[in-house]
Symmetry: D2
């Protein structure tokens, strides 16, 4: 064990559990540590800074550990200069590429710190050079890298910043613990506050939804929130849109008669016919314009010119003509729709929640609602440390959220 490095981290170190996670990481990566300094003496509301001396077995281990620790907001005290290397084929990063976090990131090249344009986790950092001078640095997923692009390697010359939650604000105060034994009505209000705050700052609200939104009878509540301007972008799969459309065309969703609450398990021909109907029209928008589709969530989004990105999955029937069947193309469309998003609500979908968590900067507040605790914890485990989870009934939650956000909302 002979390689050493000094790192530092600033934040609510004492009361956020972040320090213990940092030290756990060091141990997991086979390293060792001495904390040489922690700020003490100030009030609870202030942030502290800790300085840590790391020891690792060899340089490769150290570089990995440093990259790992950056996901926690830990930077080198003497970051030095970033190294770059050229990709030698499409879709493959150079060896030792720097693997990104979703935190705000700076890269030091030739003595200057450049901001990374679009923080996203698990990407590489591509440097645009003009006359050998870096003009721009952006994250790029592995599949999009092209031969000859310049890519940052190693952990040197990189700084990240963890967002500091404002524990005074109602939303910032939301707990990270996941439990179904919480007073959910209070949490509804906190989510509504987060959305109103985002809108007040001119930001967009992004929804990520699964078919459970429709099955649980929450489509009317969601339509009311689209109408009231609280749904700017929707990320979903083929299922949510198909069941919503099936429900508008036939009054059922996957065979469940939504007005009586009972149902056949899989009224298969309804959803297949709904798919065929929209495919015949050419697109969801075309079906709205031709008067074939007259209600539901997708109809409301089209009517209000809101954006939606539907990405397919291997279990899809159909799919709807609007669905991206290539998942990499779909991911690109999702990235393209993130501009100005200031709040994200994920409801009843593990697949699309994790997919969105992968590409969302850590600075955007994120709430995940599901009746299954595993969905909610998965997201935080995957690196979306800003995620707040609510384990509750999706249908009743959206009903309450609509009552909170839309004063004259009444269940039809």
């Amino acid at each position: 064990m002979s390689v050493k490095e000094t790192v530092e981290v600033t934040g609510h170190l004492m009361d956020s559990g972040i320090l213990s996670r940092i030290l756990d990481d060091i141990r997991e990566y086979g390293g060792d540590w001495v904390i040489t300094n922690i700020d003490v003496g100030h009030e609870a509301a202030h942030t502290s800074t800790a300085t840590i001396n790391l020891t690792a077995e060899d340089d490769e281990s150290l570089q990995r550990l440093l990259m790992r620790l950056q996901t926690r907001g830990v930077n080198q005290v003497h970051p030095g200069e970033a190294s770059i290397a050229q990709a030698d084929r499409d879709g493959v990063f150079p060896d030792g590429f720097y693997s990104t976090t979703n935190l705000a990131t700076k890269v030091r090249l030739e003595g200057r710190w450049l901001d990374v344009e679009n923080p996203e986790m698990d990407c590489g950092l591509v440097v645009d050079l003009e006359n050998d001078t870096a003009t721009r640095i952006r994250t790029l997923p592995m599949s999009d890298v092209r031969a000859d692009m310049w890519v940052v390697t190693g952990a040197a010359g990189i700084r990240v910043d963890i967002p500091v939650l404002d524990k005074g604000s109602d939303f910032g105060f939301m707990e990270s613990d996941v439990s179904s034994e919480k007073p959910q009505a209070v949490l509804v209000r906190q989510v509504a506050d987060g959305m109103r705050e985002a809108k007040a700052h001119g930001k967009k609200v992004l929804w990520v939804g699964g078919p459970g939104v429709v099955h649980t009878g929450a489509a009317p509540a969601m339509v009311a929130m689209v109408d009231a301007g609280f749904v700017d972008v929707l990320f979903a799969g083929n299922a949510l849109a198909t069941h919503d459309i099936e429900s508008s065309l036939y009054g059922t969703s996957l065979g469940v008669d939504l007005s009586h609450g009972h149902g056949v398990e899989h009224g298969h021909e309804h959803h297949i016919r709904a798919l065929n109907t929209i495919r015949k029209e050419g697109s969801i928008r075309a079906a709205v314009e031709s008067g074939v589709l007259t209600g539901g969530i997708m109809h409301a989004l089209v009517k209000h010119d809101k954006e939606f990105v539907l990405v397919g999955s291997v279990r899809d029937d159909g799919p709807l003509p609007d669905v991206h069947t290539d998942v990499i193309v779909g991911q690109r469309a999702m990235r393209g729709a993130l501009t100005d998003v200031g709040f994200c609500l994920m409801v009843a979908t593990m697949l699309h929640s994790v997919a969105t968590g992968n590409i969302l900067p850590a600075s955007i507040p994120l709430v995940c609602v599901d009746i299954n605790p595993a969905t909610v914890t998965k997201l935080a485990d995957r690196g979306s440390s800003q995620a707040r989870g609510i384990v509750t009934d999706v249908g009743l939650f959206l009903e309450q959220l609509a009552r909170e956000l839309v004063p004259d909302y009444r269940r039809p």
Copy 2:
């Protein structure tokens, strides 16, 4: 295989799945069957009757199979006369005692059919004799039998009747399938209908609740329903009452600050102090009367002179002075409070739900609400075939139920 018997069953045999469960039972018990007759030709709404020839290995197997089948409402075509035997010690039934179902039951003794007074599953049938003539037959749990009591043995001379659900009524139409992907708002309305129907017939509404009622912030909703007369009897443990009282005294429940939704995991001294406070007063009623306890569910029950039965468990702290620490004594108190109950709602408790399911006649409609599907299915598996389950968030469910039942209810 040489012992045979002919049995029959009447009900919605075709569309309730009951016939397949009957035949599964026969197979499980090592028997064999030939269906010799089923009514056909009539409308969907009518009941049918099936006649089945059973074969079993020996008489003991046959007797057990017949008892088992009675839990499904299957009777012998030629029931004959019941046999009785005398218990020879306290707390022990005679060998071969008839083990009861929770169905309406008749016993034939000396040519007369007598009604069993209080159907309850897993009991024995005790016969009161006057001058060698049976005057009364009632169920009795094993622990309550006394030496010299006369007890029915074997399956002969016994008839049961399955309640026929009215599939036309809104409540009767409630599905037995358990799923969190159901439009729960519709189910709320069906439960409200069931309660209103019971009250309209002069019956009582029994609630069985766990501490989750308080943790999820639903106490104000439940208080509103107590005030409005929709809670006549409450069965619970030490936990619901203690957390309710803790919440009234300190504004927390198990350390969760209910108005902000965040909390320490276990604010232990609050619940311990709440227990000590009530123990000092002597009882919950005394604490209400002395002005120590001024709000919450237990306060509302006392104020309206509603009955509650609290039965302890091995994990209890305290407990409250009103808690039956002897579980057998507690079961007796619960039995005593079942008179005139016409609807039962179980919320957020597996232990007390199963306990209540054990003693409740099958004729009383029963809805079980929990966020954990296992709680909901357990009940039906244990023999409460009339149970309907709703997998949802308890707090939001009770909030909606209060809005449905109490027109002017507003969340405080």
Copy 3:
């Protein structure tokens, strides 16, 4: 209500619950019924036939009901002749197209019954005509239909057959109930029997797996079963393969150190580096051949020339070069790999299990293993009525299965 039709169904009607599901369907679809005949009088092991008179509101409702009932194996007594219509554009079926089941299906055209080649649910039936005579009928998913193809419309002229489970065989006897409170060791043996039976008949064993196979430490057990010839085809996503390869390259899976059982939540750079490494090699096979990949499940499959189909999802990083990023192309590849499959085991994946259930004929035995009961019940709810579920720990289950199937297997 004036449209009528007479249908019949043959099977273990009495003891399988199938009849009640049929009658539920009729009610859900707004129809009515009179059962005019049921076979009685024979032994438990024999199948029965029921004849049912249906009434529906109008012809369209009737056609839908008839299609729905065919998913249960119900056929018209007088099926008549099938109608066909031409698709008038790519990817869209003609109005009123017949929506398929996954049951063995026959179509009557010009007085002759033709077998449908590859039963699959939620498809259309495409008829190949030569000189106006049908020579071949096959299922085709909506996205693959081309303009001018002839497609069966309506429910006339179609017969399906439900597979009759042999309740005498050990595997056939496996229960459809899902519970974690079952003696799982017995179920392991039943699954092993099902696999051995398939292999004895010269059939292939298809595995469908999620990343949990690797996280739970079961990769060595699965490798042993690949080596022993019990894994002929694998369907999975990017995650299983990446975590397996990550584990071989670095000894971790998603950051969990598999030999100590503890882990960082998301050791992100490991899996990203594993992806980059294989992308550099060009394919998994190339990585095996170049000596870069020397162990794990994917290595074992390559070594034994076993087939694997990896289909991407929207949450994928990378992905591996072998992954189909277009899900429709991926579905086609899966269909292509179903030939000669005689048993299917699904482990730790809801997405790929449902996707496989969608394309698998009902005649192929299917077992789904997951620690989450919802995954297991979802499959049956989606129409894979032959599915048997086991709720258990995936890692320990595969460990036991390897001990059962591979006599000299020892955990490394």
Copy 4:
């Protein structure tokens, strides 16, 4: 806010998350803090000490906060002398009584520190006085206090010590995270190591079990571990013992035929008859001695003269004659059996796990195994901070544990 106090805590503050939980508690209790000192500069393996200045609104709040913080191992720098007060009636503590933690505790009276004899959470501290001098201090539950006993009040004069986990040992290194996606086979080995270590130090192994042990077919594995000396004490309810005995007498458990894995949902008369049979014998031991009970877990415990404490619950049938029907009496019996316990394994029971967690000192290692993550997390939330959880299949886990602990164990 004018009341202040200085506290300190020693332990693995940096890498255990304990510091953030302490600061969370202060915030929850409405207090404020300044950290005035933390040890830095030493190696990862060493413990640190932090000094914290607390501010609270008033003295009552401060006393409660200090008691709360003691559950985390936080002590006053200047503890002063303890106060005592006399209980003035049976079963009620004096106002302001000190509510205990499950940590090793000392009380300072008249200048001397006395050790508390049996640390247990949520109790009072009773002081035995001889000639006005304290001779002994012990925890006592609220229900056992008697008028005139001397009880410690307030938080002054009390010190607690948190156990320092040896992160070097295999067992100590076990993670506190709960997940079903862990390599469970590794965890089996760590549990086996923990048991062997306890036995090597002459300590007893305590098992706490639910009926799932029997339903999942694990009884033979558990019997093998009883035979091999790895089960010294068993805490359970009526259900585990009854189903175990039912299984020995009839080969079923709650109607599930354990050798075939299928079952009726509730083969009610079997368990009722098993209860009657043992009640007739008078006790489980009597049934073993008379030759009525010849196999199973309870038989093995009797045969090896191992202790078991069965405590009843409100859902019990019967119960067995050995069951304590009064839960307070049952708790006392459990406390009496804790002597020399050095390891505790909890399997498949939430009720008895929480009950045991309530009375177990924090110094005894504790592992909780259940397929339901909620059971596992509940325990830690209730204050058993030493609890380690494993989410897995109980049957397969015990099977593997038996293979690990009993070299010649073979599944029958």
